[in-house]
Every structure is written in structure tokens, then in C-alpha cells.
């Protein structure tokens, strides 16, 4: 499904600020895999996601999705296979546009955008039913502008927009980190519900060790642009937060954020 081979990404190559963000990284995901990614700041987690999404061009290596080499494919074309939810709830939606307009734009991902109406009456009804699955009451506010919604509502909407077309891969970059604990839990529950129902292949970055163990069937730990530890299936289920912290201590890559969580 997703095949990453020997990926290397260097920022500011040849300058004094040169920073190797990913070093010869390889990763394989099967259909329906839900991988949680943990690691300290600057470990390369977000860079990995941005390379998969096509935001950054890679220096070496290849990315293959469903057998198609997408290494050189531009970001907007790759959006047909890859969808994302960002950490900042403001980034995932167009604030000045209505809920149903945002959803309609997401539903057209991968299609040609011509001169037909963005939201027809039929679309409107269908989108309403889709939003109702969130259970947030947004189906009664379809023509409300998104900037009037709370961060949690916007993030739930973004998650729905990212998954409604059933993309090949869903990338979640600490998508609950900016929300209050109660809302974060709601969005996480929603994430689990949607990914389970769709058998959605997912990569989720998190700073929460407990979430990393609870969610998904695979776990990878990154440090300094490399995957330093992987666990899956039963081995992953048996992990404890203490185990993970010990691993971090071994490599001397513990920082305050990890200790706090």
C-alpha cells in the first residue's frame, strides 16, 4: 500500500544551517494499518508526513502508493491519494466559506473543478447526511461560515473532509494537540470510529505516549531522522508508557514534553 524506501531529506543543503531531517528512512504499510508515530522535537516526524503529502521534495529515496511512484508528483495531485489533518484547527478549513462549501470542495478532491455549481441541491442533502454522522449538530448549520465554529468543531469537520473520499492514506499531524483535553478525546474517538469503519490506512503523530499505545496496530519511534523502534500487533499491545520512556532514555532523546505526558 505505502512503500517508503531510503528516504533522505536535507534542509538548507550546502549552507551553514544544513539540517538532515530524514536519513535513509524506510517504512512499509499494509492496507488498513494504523501507525502511531512518537519522537522528540526535531525527530523528523512532521517532515516524514510532509514528504508523503508532497509538501517537501525529497533528496533521495522513493515513495510508492498503491504501486504508483509518487515521489515527484506535486502536492495538489497527490491529494487524490493522501489527505491530511493539521495540528492547527484553523489550517484545515476555509474560514470565510460555509460548512457545506468546505465539504463540497473536499468531496471534489481528485476531480476536475469545472463550471458546475459547487453545491447543488442534491449535494446539499447528501452533505447534510454526512455531517450528521459527526453528531455535533452541524447538520443544522450547513450555511454557517466556518470561522464561527469552535476549534474542536473545525477539527472534527477537517477530519470528516479528509476522510469522506476514502483516501489511500490519512495523515494526522498531532491533530488533537491544540484542543482542550475533553475536546481532544472527542476528536480521537471520532478518529477511531472513522478509521475503523473505513479500514482507513492512517499515520498519526502524537506526543501522548498513552494514545500512541492505545490507538492503532503499529507504533514507530523516531529520533534524529531515523526509525529507532517499531512494534506491532501483540508486541505493541503489551507496551507500557514506562517501556517507551525507557527507550527514549536509552537514546538520550528525552525532552520536557515527553516527560510530562
Amino acid at each position: 500500500m505505502l512503500d517508503i524506501k531510503n528516504l533522505t531529506k536535507v534542509f538548507g543543503k550546502g549552507t551553514v544551517n544544513e539540517k538532515v531531517a530524514l536519513t535513509n528512512l524506510s517504512l512499509h504499510l499494509n492496507e488498513g494499518d494504523f501507525v502511531t508515530v512518537i519522537g522528540g522535537n526535531g525527530a523528523g516526524k512532521s517532515t516524514l508526513l510532509n514528504c508523503i503529502a508532497g509538501v517537501f521534495a525529497v533528496d533521495e529515496g522513493s515513495i510508492t502508493i498503491n504501486g504508483m511512484d509518487v515521489t515527484k508528483m506535486p502536492e495538489h495531485k497527490r491529494a487524490r491519494f493522501v489527505s491530511r489533518v493539521f495540528q492547527d484547527p484553523l489550517l484545515g478549513t476555509a474560514a470565510d466559506m460555509q460548512i457545506e462549501e468546505n465539504l463540497a470542495i473536499a468531496s471534489q478532491r481528485g476531480q476536475r473543478r469545472g463550471l458546475g455549481w459547487n453545491v447543488t441541491k442534491k449535494d446539499s442533502q447528501h452533505l447534510k447526511e454526512v455531517v450528521a454522522t459527526l453528531g455535533l449538530g452541524l447538520e443544522n448549520r450547513m450555511t454557517t461560515k466556518v470561522n464561527l465554529l469552535s476549534g474542536g468543531q473545525r477539527q472534527a469537520l477537517t477530519l470528516l473532509m479528509a476522510t469522506m473520499n476514502k483516501p489511500s492514506i490519512l495523515l494526522l499531524d498531532e491533530h488533537t494537540a491544540a484542543l482542550d483535553p475533553k475536546t481532544a478525546q472527542k476528536v480521537l474517538d471520532l478518529t477511531r470510529k472513522i478509521t475503523t469503519e473505513n479500514n482507513q490506512t492512517t499515520i498519526m503523530i502524537t506526543h501522548n505516549m498513552k494514545d500512541a499505545i492505545t490507538y492503532g496496530n503499529k507504533l514507530i519511534m523516531m529520533s534524529d531522522g531515523k526509525i529507532i523502534f517499531q512494534a506491532e500487533g501483540e508486541q505493541k499491545q503489551k507496551l507500557t508508557v514506562a517501556d517507551l520512556l525507557e527507550k527514549f532514555q536509552q537514546i538520550g532523546d528525552e525532552n520536557d514534553r515527553i516527560l510530562l505526558s
Binding site: A53, V55, P74, E75, H76, K77, A79, R80, S83, R84, F86, L91, G92, T93, A94, A95, D96, M97, E101, N102, A104, I105, A106, Q108, R109, G110, R113, G114, L115, G116, W117, N118, M161, A162
Partner: protein, 309 residues
């Protein structure tokens, strides 16, 4: 004394129709600026060149016997092409939007003089312009025809913009202006959307230029100097008068209303005994500063009130 006041008052009254005509024609430019500044969120200054381009192309074509409708069409297309080139400079060559626009406006100055075969103006007096043709045919005074024709054009442009930005393509352009990162994540090719948006914006500027040249019976190389500021002033005045949460078409109509009010204010100001015609730019600048600061002052006032509450 009373007599003198009366004369000025009558003078002002007599100016109103021409102010409305002027406001409607320049309002089409303001709609173009609205698309680049408000919808696309790109500070494009090309309109200072493309408005003149529209006027110059129409004048030269009509003076050389081309049908006026065809001349208007060619003007709009030439403006759109220039806008698309600005878009290409900005998106593909990564030149900052504001500089891309300034460069386009700068380059068009020479292009416009070339189109006029080295002259700095072309007259349309007694030429078969749309306004002259309709005025002769319907036997209606030119100042009335101006208002009718420009109002029709403004209504048509508002309807077209309203329709276009409700389509999938138009919505993709709106999303690009609203949130670039979101647009790309949703598979929108943002570069092409910026280029299309700037083409439409500058096509409208050229249409305005074409109509203004016909109204003035003259196209000059500097007819558009300061067009960007005039467009912005119209938008801001319109936004002051019309409330924020209005439907899109009403916001567009607000731009036209803003443009008319701007013209009337300028005309009124120029009637003052100490004002000269060359004070227009100074008055416009002051007007824009005032109009833009009202929102800031209001916000500060609200904050203070909130603190006291």
C-alpha cells in the same frame, strides 16, 4: 451671499449625474480590485496598467474602424492576458505579488504608447463608440446614456462574478484566497487558480478602461494613474456602508455603491473654493486613510467598552 451659495448648490446638483456615471464606470474597476485584494488576497497593482490598456486598445481599434463591441471584447482579453502574466510572474517565478504587479504596470506604460503608435493619447470624439451610437440611435442625451449603459454593464458584471464564484472552479479560487494550505491539501492547483483570478481581475480593469475612454472620448497613457487607490477607496467606503454579513452579491453591489459615493465626495470636495483639480489624489489618499481607520477606531472603542463592562 445667499445667491452665491445657491449657485454653488445648483452647480453641485448638476454634477451628480456625471458623478454617478463616473462612479459606475470606475466601479467595474473596483470590482476587479475586489477580486484580487479581497477574494484572492493578492495585492495586485497591475490594474494601473491594464485599465489604461483597455482604454487604449478600444480607442485605437475604434478610431481605425473596428466595431466597438469587438473592440471592447479585445480590450477585455488583452487585460486578462496581462493579468495572467502577472499571475505567472508571482506563482511560477516566485516574484512577490506586489512587485509582479508593479512590474506589469511599469511595462504596460511602454506597451500602451506602442499601441498608440508613439502618441500619448488617442481621441474618440465623434467616433462610433458604444455611447455615441446609442445616444444617436435612441436620441437620448449622452450623460443619461452614460448612466444607463454603465449601470447595465455593472449589473452584468456583478451577475457574472456572483455566478462564477458559486461554481466549482470559482469556489476553488475562493478557497485558494482564503487558505492556501487547505486548498492544496484538498487537491486544488493553487498556482493556476491565482493566475485565473488575476486574469479576471485585470480583464475587468480593462473593461472599465474601455468604458472610461468612451465616456471621456479620449484614451491617454496616464488615464489609470492611481487606479489601484481609487479601487481600494471604493471597496473600503462600500464596506463601511454595507454590513459585513451580507450575501456575496450584496457585497459586490456595495463596491459599486462605494465607487459612486467616492466620486460624489471627490466632486463635492473639488467644489470647495480652496480646492484645485490636482488635489484629487491628495483628497483620495486622505479619504482612504479616514475610511480605513474608522474600523480600527471602532474596534478600539469596542475593546474599551468590553473592558469597562
Amino acid at each position: 451671499m445667499l445667491n452665491l451659495l445657491n449657485v454653488t448648490f445648483m452647480g453641485i446638483l448638476r454634477l451628480i449625474p456625471s458623478g454617478i456615471g463616473e462612479g459606475l464606470a470606475w466601479g467595474i474597476l473596483a470590482l476587479g480590485v475586489y477580486i484580487s485584494f479581497r477574494v484572492l488576497d493578492v495585492a495586485d497593482m497591475s490594474v494601473d496598467g491594464t485599465l489604461a490598456l483597455g482604454g487604449v486598445v478600444t480607442a485605437v481599434l475604434v478610431a481605425n474602424g473596428t466595431n466597438v463591441v469587438l473592440a471592447i471584447l479585445i480590450s477585455v482579453i488583452s487585460g486578462a492576458v496581462a493579468g495572467a502574466i502577472t499571475g505567472l510572474m508571482h506563482t511560477k517565478l516566485k516574484i512577490p505579488a506586489i512587485l509582479s504587479g508593479i512590474l506589469m504596470m511599469f511595462a504596460l506604460y511602454s506597451v500602451n504608447i506602442h499601441i498608440m503608435s508613439g502618441k500619448s493619447n488617442v481621441s474618440l470624439l465623434k467616433q462610433p463608440t458604444l455611447l455615441n451610437l446609442l445616444s444617436d440611435w435612441l436620441q437620448i442625451d449622452r450623460s443619461v446614456i452614460n448612466i444607463i449603459v454603465f449601470a447595465l454593464f455593472a449589473a452584468l458584471v456583478i451577475a457574472a462574478i456572483y455566478w462564477f464564484f458559486g461554481t466549482k472552479l470559482g469556489s476553488a479560487i475562493r478557497a485558494t484566497g482564503c487558505n492556501l494550505q487547505m486548498a492544496r491539501a484538498q487537491g486544488i492547483d493553487t498556482d493556476s487558480k491565482v493566475i485565473i483570478g488575476l486574469a479576471i481581475s485585470n480583464g475587468l480593469a480593462a473593461l472599465a478602461g474601455s468604458l472610461i475612454a468612451q465616456k471621456d472620448s479620449n484614451a491617454t497613457v496616464d488615464m489609470a494613474s492611481g487606479a489601484i487607490v481609487i479601487g481600494l477607496a471604493s471597496i473600503v467606503i462600500g464596506e463601511l456602508i454595507f454590513k459585513k454579513n451580507l450575501p456575496f452579491w450584496a457585497k459586490l453591489a456595495g463596491v459599486i455603491v462605494g465607487s459612486i459615493i467616492y466620486r460624489l465626495i471627490i466632486m463635492l470636495a473639488l467644489q470647495m473654493p480652496f480646492a484645485e483639480t490636482y488635489d484629487m489624489k491628495l483628497i483620495t489618499a486622505i479619504l482612504l486613510v479616514l475610511a480605513m481607520s474608522v474600523t480600527v477606531i471602532k474596534k478600539r472603542h469596542h475593546k474599551k467598552e468590553a473592558k469597562h463592562a
